[in-house]
């Protein structure tokens, strides 16, 4: 694996991690009653960590795009939908049925077609 391929895999991981951190942070924010509903999230360390992860991801993504064609990189990034849904099912006790998995598969396929066409 080349460095840019490793970065691409890392980008999928970071994109997934960001959403997972934000979700956990917002679950806590919903329990904490202090502060205004729109400002409450900014007091949650996990939300701030999720946002920081997104910033790091953006920088990494620019590096990836300078080495790998967007028509390959973009669909690979869409794999983060699979990672996040799998995590939600296993670790957050969300019930993910066949229909939702089929939906995720179609989305990943669609992003692939969109990127290939562009």
């Amino acid at each position: 694996m080349s460095v840019s391929q490793i970065f691409l895999v890392l980008a999928v991981g970071l994109a997934s991690l960001a959403q997972i951190l934000l979700k956990h942070g917002m679950t806590r924010a919903a329990q904490a009653r202090a502060g205004h509903v729109w400002l409450r999230p900014l007091r949650q360390p996990l939300v701030l960590a999720g946002m920081s992860t997104q910033v790091v991801l953006t920088c990494l993504w620019l590096v990836v795009l300078s080495h790998i064609d967007v028509s390959l990189a973009f669909p690979v990034l869409a794999l983060s939908y699979v990672v996040v849904v799998a995590y939600s099912a296993v670790s957050m006790d969300e019930v993910v049925g066949k229909r939702r998995w089929c939906g995720v598969a179609l989305i990943v396929l669609g992003v692939g077609v969109l990127a290939y066409a562009a």
């Binding site: 917002m26 939908y81 019930v95 993910v96 939702r100 179609l106 989305i107 992003v111 990127a115």
Partner: protein
């Protein structure tokens, strides 16, 4: 038929708002960067940041896009506090559809509509419909 509670309608409304704002933010940033020109050196990136500070209106669309995108993120956090992550996150892919449509329809961006892009857009929308219609936990 699916029965959708009032609370769910609010969640779905917030999700659509967030995704639309994300797409609008992306399109504005693209519009602004088209006017600025491609960044091909660290020097050009410095110029972008510098003109953004001393003459904000010269890259007004970039600023507008970043403001709209920031609002989208705040709305997204509200979505996450209301919905299952395994439903909300895949539905974020609707923003790809909106960006491709917006880029084709906004004359200043003028990106081509092709059969391939329409097919990809259609697949994503079918996927989103399946995810949205799947049983809640």
């Amino acid at each position: 038929m699916l029965r959708i509670s009032r609370q769910s309608w609010v969640s779905i409304g917030l999700l659509l708002l967030s995704v639309s704002l994300m797409a609008a933010g992306q399109l504005c940033m693209r519009r602004g960067m088209l006017a600025f020109g491609p960044i091909e050196s660290p020097q050009a990136f410095f110029n972008l940041v510098w003109s953004g500070i001393v003459a904000p209106m010269s890259i007004g669309f970039v600023w507008l896009g970043m403001i709209v995108y920031s609002i989208a993120i705040m709305v997204w956090l509200q979505v996450l506090s209301r919905m299952d992550l395994s439903i909300a996150f895949p539905m974020m892919s609707l923003s790809y559809v909106l960006v491709y449509l917006g880029a084709a329809l906004w004359p200043a961006l003028d990106e081509a509509i092709t059969v391939g892009r329409l097919a990809g857009t259609g697949l994503i929308m079918c996927g989103v419909a399946l995810v949205a219609g799947s049983r809640r936990s």
